[in-house]
C-alpha cells in the first residue's frame, strides 16, 4: 500500500495555486516566469498521478511533452525579457505600459 493518489492531487492543486498567486502579485517578469514553471510542475505532478491511477503510460508521455514545451517557452520568454531590457532597462511589468489606452 503506497500513498493515496488523492494526496498527490491535493499537493498539485496547492502548488498550482501558489504559482498562480505568484503570477498575480509579483511584478518582476523573471519571477513571473518562474511562477509559470511552478504551475507547469503542478500539472506534471497531476499527470504522473493519473498515469499511476489509471494504469496508463500516456500520462507520463504527456509530461515529457510538457517539459519540452516549458523549455521552449522559457527560452522565448527570456529572449523577450532581454530584448525589452535592452530598450527600456527595466524588468518590471508595471513599466511596460506602451500599449496602455
Amino acid at each position: 500500500m503506497t500513498v493515496n493518489p488523492d494526496w498527490y492531487l491535493a499537493l498539485g492543486v496547492v502548488l498550482f495555486s501558489i504559482g498562480a498567486l505568484g503570477v498575480l502579485v509579483r511584478r518582476n517578469v523573471l519571477v513571473m516566469l518562474m511562477c509559470v514553471e511552478l504551475m507547469l510542475n503542478a500539472a506534471n505532478l497531476t499527470f504522473v498521478t493519473f498515469a499511476r491511477m489509471l494504469h496508463d503510460i500516456g500520462g507520463q508521455v504527456l509530461v515529457f511533452f510538457v517539459l519540452v514545451v516549458a523549455a521552449a517557452e522559457v527560452v522565448v520568454g527570456l529572449g523577450i525579457v532581454v530584448a525589452i531590457f535592452r530598450r527600456r532597462s527595466t524588468a518590471t511589468a508595471d513599466d511596460l505600459h506602451a500599449m496602455k489606452g
Binding site: 500500500m1 518562474m34 507520463q60 508521455v61 511533452f65 529572449g79 532581454v82
Partner: protein
C-alpha cells in the same frame, strides 16, 4: 479526496515499507511547498531561482515515488540543470539581482483580491476532486504490468503511439532556438536605430535625417 483520512488509518496497520513511502511523501511535499512559497515571497530574483530548484527536486522525488523514474531524471537534468541555469544566466546578464521592494503595492487592493481569487480556485479544484469519479481508482504502479522497466514502456510509447507529437516537439524546439536568436540579436549598427515612442517627438521625426533611399541592404 474522500480517502485522505483513510490513508492514515490504513498506514497505521500497514507494513513497514508503506511508512517509508508516507514519510518520503511528507518530506518531499514539505520541500515542494516551502520552495514554492519561497519563489513567490523572495525579494531577490536569485533567491527565487534557487527556491525553484528546491521545488523541482521535491517534484522529482515524488516522481520516483510514483514509479516514474525516467521523468524524475529528466526533471533534474532539464529543469534544474538547464531551465533554472538559463534563468540565473539572464538574471546575472541583465544585472537585476538586487532586492526588490515587494511591500509596495502599486494597485490598491490587487493583492487581497488575488489571494481571494486563488483561494477560491484552489477550493473549487479540491471540491472537484472530491465529487468527481476520477479519484476512485485504486492505487497502482504506473503503466501496464508487463514486467518492463519504466524507461522501456515510455520509449516504446513515444516512438509508436506518440511519434507525430514527438516529431512536432522537435520542430518546436528548432523554432524556439531561432526565435531566441532573433530576439537576442543586436540590431546592426548601420540600420536606423529603433526609437521608443516616448522619446520621439513629432519635430524629431520631421527633422531626423532618414536614411537615403536604397541605402538599406
Amino acid at each position: 479526496m474522500a480517502g485522505l483520512l483513510g490513508t492514515l488509518t490504513a498506514a497505521s496497520t500497514a507494513t513497514h515499507a508503506s511508512w517509508v513511502d508516507v514519510g518520503t511523501f511528507a518530506v518531499a511535499a514539505a520541500i515542494v511547498l516551502a520552495g514554492a512559497v519561497g519563489v513567490v515571497v523572495a525579494r531577490n530574483p536569485v533567491h527565487s531561482a534557487l527556491m525553484l530548484v528546491m521545488t523541482l527536486f521535491g517534484i522529482a522525488v515524488l516522481f520516483v515515488l510514483q514509479r516514474a523514474d525516467f521523468l524524475a531524471a529528466v526533471q533534474v537534468i532539464v529543469y534544474a540543470g538547464a531551465i533554472v541555469v538559463l534563468f540565473l544566466f539572464v538574471i546575472m546578464f541583465l544585472g537585476v539581482d538586487r532586492e526588490e521592494n515587494i511591500a509596495a503595492e502599486p494597485l490598491r487592493g490587487q493583492r487581497p483580491l488575488a489571494v481571494a481569487l486563488t483561494a477560491l480556485g484552489a477550493t473549487g479544484l479540491l471540491l472537484l476532486g472530491q465529487v468527481s469519479a476520477w479519484t476512485t481508482g485504486a492505487p497502482h504502479v504506473a503503466g501496464p504490468d508487463t514486467g518492463q522497466s519504466n524507461v522501456a514502456l515510455l520509449g516504446k510509447s513515444v516512438y509508436t503511439t506518440y511519434l507525430f507529437p514527438f516529431e512536432a516537439t522537435a520542430a518546436l524546439l528548432v523554432i524556439a532556438v531561432v526565435g531566441a536568436v532573433v530576439l537576442a540579436r543586436r540590431p546592426p549598427a548601420a540600420a536606423e536605430p529603433v526609437r521608443t515612442d516616448e522619446s520621439a517627438t513629432p519635430e524629431d521625426r520631421a527633422d531626423a535625417p532618414g536614411p537615403a533611399e536604397g541605402a538599406r541592404p
